[in-house]
């Protein structure tokens, strides 16, 4: 072997690509030739450097971050396409951020008013039927979840009630606990993260008896009321169990109570009163509770901030001042979309953050929060006649021609109308701005996008029994950060859900209606980047629509999706066959058309028939 030949084989030699005789020849040449030896050493050294560097880089892991970015980008595109409000984005980011202590305090005051609304007004009390209300009349402790607004998208308030004290947590403000003494009108809010405590004295808090006592009084009063009409709804499958329902209408409120027929315990209460919808559920009565959880003194190591809020004194001027703050400081010159409490509660962490960003002093920030609180109180303890009306959504501050809010003060013949420039005029009823129909107002306050958006892959397995066993894999791309409940609809009312798994964990679910199921989402997964779920459900082939002997599949996703794929395979000897030979099974695929995530994709013949 000469040097040229050796040089040619050197790389192959290092790569282990030579046969025995070639290897031998190269080795022999290298032993004799110092020049080639030196070259071989150079190559070896370079290879070593390359391999080492390759290993260093191979350790880096871009996968997770790339996918996070892809998902973020995808979400942004989804939102853009559906023209959802931009703040959803901010909202997502903010939920993970710490809320300033004052801001949290104000939000919690608002939250309390929400809860009190439910139990505080005689109209809102729920239990009308003697059996159903008995547990409330006798309970010493209670636990319940309160939802204000629409189930599935609104934050959940969890209350533990023990005597006069409520321990309250919010699903969208983690690490924050409020302990509320309703008798003394005092709220202690503890922020775990910064070891911060805020104590708020509620001035003008009405002398409230014991929380449960009050509820009892309300019930007693209600029962005596001649206007209170109760309609029985009979039995229904709800939350996974058979429940008996009562619907009650009062001049100003509507109320539905669902109770367990066996125990007469109230299970779920839905209440629409004034301009607010409240759902109370997951009641538990008389469970032992640790007194430590209800202590009103500040734990060691916490810094305490004290303040007071006047609860009842809110005036029209307070309301207007709040509108000004919300438009000028927080809304880029636009009035808020809504002035109802639930909307504020939902956005509380975001608003807090924006207030933080204003760069004002702590003192100023506190004042701002107090002003906002009074603004909200005006609506919460609305003292006017009938309904108030808000039409400020999208209106610019300073717009003197547009009426943004009007109401009729108690005992007044004329309305007070607030315009976009925040002046107020007295207006006769006949000259009022045209009233929007109540229905459209409600729709307006709904999110313009579905809450849950995903991609779904279905595998339908046709079994011997004539059943289809379905596995639906869903990757959620978007979900409300504060959702506690997820609801899914099977394509068939007769379909039966067998299991739901999130990641590797199975979750308990319950049937709400035919083919409709709901389950609670574990809070900890809401802050992850992607939620993988697997549903298993069955439906009988007989249920499927048929055209000329061919079974038609309803192409319907469990949640709104941007991508849906369905594969149908037949179990061998299941008694069915594909009309045309197909080893692959039958497939159908829908991809997002760029408009809106969809649930329904029509129906398709699967091309299967009974064999023989």
């Amino acid at each position: 072997m000469n040097c040229a030949q050796c040089k040619e084989l050197l790389v192959a030699h290092f790569e282990g690509l030579l046969d025995e005789s070639q290897k031998q020849a190269v080795a022999e040449h290298l032993e004799q030739c110092h020049f080639c030896q030196a070259q071989a050493n150079d190559v070896a050294y370079l290879r070593e450097r390359l391999i080492k560097n390759g290993k260093v880089l191979a350790r880096s892991d871009l996968e997770e971050e790339v996918f996070n970015r892809v998902i973020r980008e995808q979400n942004a595109r989804l939102r853009e396409a559906a023209q959802a409000p931009k703040r959803m984005d901010i909202w997502k980011i903010l939920v993970k951020n710490r809320v300033s202590r004052y801001a949290a305090a104000a939000a919690i005051v608002v939250g309390i008013l929400v809860g009190m609304h439910f139990i505080g007004s005689p109209l809102s009390t729920t239990m009308t039927f003697a059996e159903v209300v008995r547990p409330i009349l006798t309970a010493r402790t209670a636990q319940l979840d309160i939802l204000v607004g629409d189930e599935g998208s609104c934050p959940v308030i969890h209350d533990m009630v023990r005597g006069t004290i409520i321990r309250r947590t919010f699903s969208n403000m983690k690490g924050i606990v409020s302990i509320i003494d309703v008798e003394k009108g005092r709220i202690l809010t503890l922020g775990e993260a910064g070891k911060e405590a805020v104590s708020i004295d509620l001035k003008g808090w009405p002398p409230m008896p014991n929380y449960m006592d009050m509820l009892r009084n309300v019930i007693t009063d209600l029962r005596k009321s001649p206007d209170f009409v109760v309609r029985e709804l009979g039995q229904r499958q709800l939350q996974g169990r058979q429940l008996v329902g009562f619907h009650a209408e009062y001049p100003k409120a509507e109320l539905t109570v669902w109770a367990d027929p066996a125990t007469a315990l109230p299970v779920r209460v839905e209440h629409t009163g004034g301009q607010m919808k409240v759902i109370c559920k997951n009641f538990k009565f008389d469970e032992p509770m640790d007194a430590e959880l209800f202590r009103m003194d500040v734990p060691e190591g916490y810094t305490l901030q004290q303040t007071a809020i006047d609860v009842y004194g809110a005036t029209e001027a307070d309301f207007i001042e709040g509108l000004r703050i919300r438009a000028e400081l927080l809304g880029d010159g636009l009035f808020p979309d809504s002035v109802v409490l639930e909307a504020y509660l939902k956005q509380a962490p975001m608003l807090s953050r924006e207030i933080n960003n204003l760069g004002v002093s702590e003192q100023e920030e506190m004042e701002l929060q107090m002003k906002l609180t009074r603004h909200l109180m005006f609506i919460r303890f609305f003292k006017g006649e009938g309904r108030w009306h808000y039409a400020g959504r999208g209106v610019e501050i300073g717009d003197a021609d547009t009426a943004i809010f009007w109401y009729r003060p108690e005992g007044s013949e004329t309305y007070r109308v607030i315009y976009g420039d925040l002046r107020v005029e007295n207006v006769a009823p006949e000259s009022l701005p045209a009233e929007e129909p109540a229905a459209s107002r409600l729709v307006d306050e709904q999110p313009s996008q579905p809450d849950f958006v995903g991609a779904q892959t279905d595998l339908w397995h046709v079994k011997k029994s004539g059943h289809v066993a379905v596995r639906s894999d869903i990757t959620l791309r978007r979900w409300p950060q504060d959702a506690a409940v997820m609801c899914v609809n099977l394509p068939y009312a007769a379909g039966e859900l067998k299991s739901v798994a999130i990641g590797d964990t199975f979750v308990q679910f319950s049937q709400v209606d035919e083919g409709q199921y709901e389950f609670e989402l574990p809070l900890e997964i809401l802050s992850t980047n992607q939620i993988e779920m697997q549903y298993r459900w069955v439906v009988s082939l007989d249920t499927l629509e048929q055209t000329e002997g061919d079974y038609r599949a309803a192409i319907q996703a469990l949640v709104p999706v941007v991508d849906y794929r369905l594969t149908v395979v037949l179990q061998p000897d299941c008694g069915f066959e594909f009309v045309e030979d197909s080893d692959q099974g039958w497939q159908v695929l829908f991809t997002w058309d760029g408009t809106r995530p969809r649930t329904h994709f029509g129906s398709r013949g699967m091309g299967i028939q009974r064999s023989g």
């Binding site: 560097n53 390759g54 871009l62 996918f67 892809v70």
Partner: protein
């Protein structure tokens, strides 16, 4: 590694076919290659990571524009080059604005945990040589696999490597020499 044994074409088509998650196999396959390529170009580990991520995200969203799925890798490197250029431009404007002295870049080098000189040398190789080196050492391909991928005889792969080594050595020596002269 069986899950990664499919061809680029297969994964690209899967992604386009409604299994976007399969993109992760492509990420795993090319992340080190991309990093080596970009670190050499940019001379900064963090910037290389950032650009590599950006490159992969752009690739993900533009996959439907890839006409030949089998040439995913070259296409990816093309995107990487564009992204790197954008970053450099941004960096320059940034620097000009901040009046950072020109040797600031040099000063950041000791932080590098990897062989920056080597990466820089690789970045200077002609494209066909660079591809083979990147695949061999950063994509963990054997010579046979490279031959198959790039549709060339095995002999061409080893010859390319051999020349690439020679060029790398020269580039590295030059660099050391320059460095020595500066000092």
């Amino acid at each position: 590694m069986s899950e990664m044994s499919e061809s680029d074409r297969y994964y690209v088509e899967r992604c386009l076919d409604g299994y976007p998650d399969d993109f992760r196999f492509l990420v795993r396959r090319y992340q080190a290659v991309l990093l080596a390529h970009l670190a050499g170009k940019l001379g900064d580990r963090h910037m290389a990571e950032e650009t590599a991520q950006e490159t992969l995200v752009r690739a993900y969203f533009n996959m439907d524009k890839l006409r030949k799925p089998e040439s995913f890798f070259s296409w990816l490197l093309g995107i990487a080059d564009r992204v790197a250029k954008e970053h450099q431009r941004k960096e320059q404007t940034h620097r000009r604005r901040e009046f950072v002295p020109p040797y600031a870049q040099e000063a950041s080098q000791p932080e590098l945990t990897q062989d920056y000189a080597l990466e820089a040398a690789i970045a200077q190789l002609p494209q066909s040589y660079r591809e083979v080196v990147l695949l061999r050492y950063y994509g963990d391909y054997t010579c046979n696999q490279i031959a198959e991928r790039l549709r060339m005889p095995l002999g061409t792969v080893t010859k390319t490597l051999s020349r690439a080594y020679a060029m790398l050595r020269k580039l590295l020596l030059q660099r050391e020499h320059n460095h020595f002269c500066e000092v």
